[in-house]
Amino acid sequence: MAWLDSLSPQTQFVFFTLLKIGCVLGLLLTLVAYAVLAERKVSALIQDRVGPNRVNLPLIGSIPFLGQFLTKLGFWHPLVDGVKSFIKEDFTPGHVRKIYFWLAPAISLVPAFLVIAVIPFGSTLGAQKMVIADLNVGILYTFGIVSLGVYGVVLAGYAANSKFPFLGGIRASAQMISYEIAMGMSVIPVFLVVGHLNLGKIIEHQAQNGWNVLPIFGGGFSAQTLLLVPCGLVSFVIFFISALAETNRLPFDMAESESELVSGYHTEYSSMKFGMFFIGEYANMFAGAAMMTTLFFGGWTLPFFGLDVAPVAGEWWKGLLHIGIFMGKMLGFMFTFMWIRWMLPRFRYDQLMDLGWRRMIPLALANIILTAGVLALTNR
């Protein structure tokens, strides 16, 4: 690595940032592909089926045990699905608004990737912090970008220029704005407790004082810790439900709802343009899961075995372990998302709006006041 040290700090910064972007994007896209497979396997598990187990590659399939095992696992299905998406006919119906029809899939894909840029997915590896952009307003940035995600859905509904997609787009815009408010308010208690908007600092605080969702590890049992337990829990529950609504997942997938709107905003899309909506949805889920891990579940830290401090020089295995811990937590949330999707029926639209405006937002507001009160009374 001698040639790296000979470069100027700026060049090194650019080099490492590009490297991190490449690794994170590659990993994220692979995870998205396998999340689709996991979704199908989880649904199969819940509905007492076997799930995808057909695709067999010529050479690898003939390896004894392993080849058959991978096939049974459905390991090659994402690969085949991807190829299928690309080689299917990309049909543009005659009645659509062409420019928006082309733009919408891209707009729905980009925000999810931009959110990942500020998430600290590990402690340090060598001298590098494991976060692409260490912003001081990290969390505001994520909310800003997430709020742009709605344009993909709305424009897709508008571009299709037919009734069902349009209804899907309208529903999505109302739903996502409503739940964004609840989501934004649910994280304010976290900032009140932590006192910082930087996601790295939020993780640091959690390593010292216990996870925000349940601050019992770490800092010991003071009156303040005990009083903050309900605040953290309520915050997390509101954030989780809003994240489900923001990513258009069941039980809140009003924008798609097959039984009413064919398939909602992407009814008119085919081939890879449909594929991009699909990737966008799963990338959004990963972004939501990563946010929850960072804000409420201590990010890359674990409160045992000294895993809650950044590694000193030479402990590269610990840096890798921290990335592993982060991924583990994130994948846990992904599993929960899927689990919920296959267990719960869809809400009615008025119930969805009622839950958002008349239950979640007042609850989130009350939680902010409660947290501020606890902090003021226990002297901070």
């Binding site: 709305v154 424009l155 508008y158 815009s173 964004e180």
Partner: protein
């Protein structure tokens, strides 16, 4: 020219370009297109805020204006009868009030820039930090009073909208 200068001219150009395209797009009279260009204008302005080290403002600009207000705009526009809107001719009343408003605003802005101290304006009194901004806004004798007055104004506007949109008053 250093990189910040180049970026400033780039974002300023984009802001103006998109702004013109919002009101006078030669290719389309579609209100949805105008709304989308307004979103782009707002994003370019957020870029200008970043160059001024006002990261908080930039993030809030995107979050509130591009992400929430404009989505509501789009929501309303999409529910209207767009065909009628596209056919509509520009009338004399519109031209007079529009020009009047632009001239008035332009006069105010020029006066402010003319009368203001540009040297001081280039050196911000609060740098980027959310904490410093919060202290500035909520300290007595700083911006507390104007801030509260603006908040009450917004609340009044909100109550007004709810009253107006109610079908029947009891």
């Amino acid at each position: 020219m250093a990189l910040p200068d180049i970026l400033f001219y780039l974002f300023a150009f984009l802001t103006l370009l998109f702004g013109v395209l919002v009101v006078a797009n030669p290719f389309s009279r579609n209100p949805v297109t105008s709304a989308m260009f307004l979103v782009l204008t707002i994003c370019a302005m957020a870029g200008l805020f970043v160059l001024l080290n006002a990261f908080f403002l930039a993030a809030v600009q995107i979050l509130v204006y591009a992400g929430a207000v404009m989505v509501l705009f789009l929501f309303v526009i999409m529910l209207l009868d767009l065909k009628e809107e596209q056919r509509r001719k520009i009338n004399l009343f519109g031209i007079v009030t529009g020009t009047g408003a632009v001239l008035g605003l332009g006069f105010l802005l020029t006066r402010t820039i003319w009368g203001g101290d540009l040297e001081q304006a280039a050196n911000p009194r609060v740098i980027g930090d959310t904490k410093a901004l919060g202290l500035e806004l909520f300290t007595k004798g700083q911006f507390l009073l104007p801030f509260e007055i603006v908040s009450v104004l917004l609340l009044v506007a909100m109550v007004g909208v709810i009253l107006l949109s109610k079908k029947e008053l009891k």
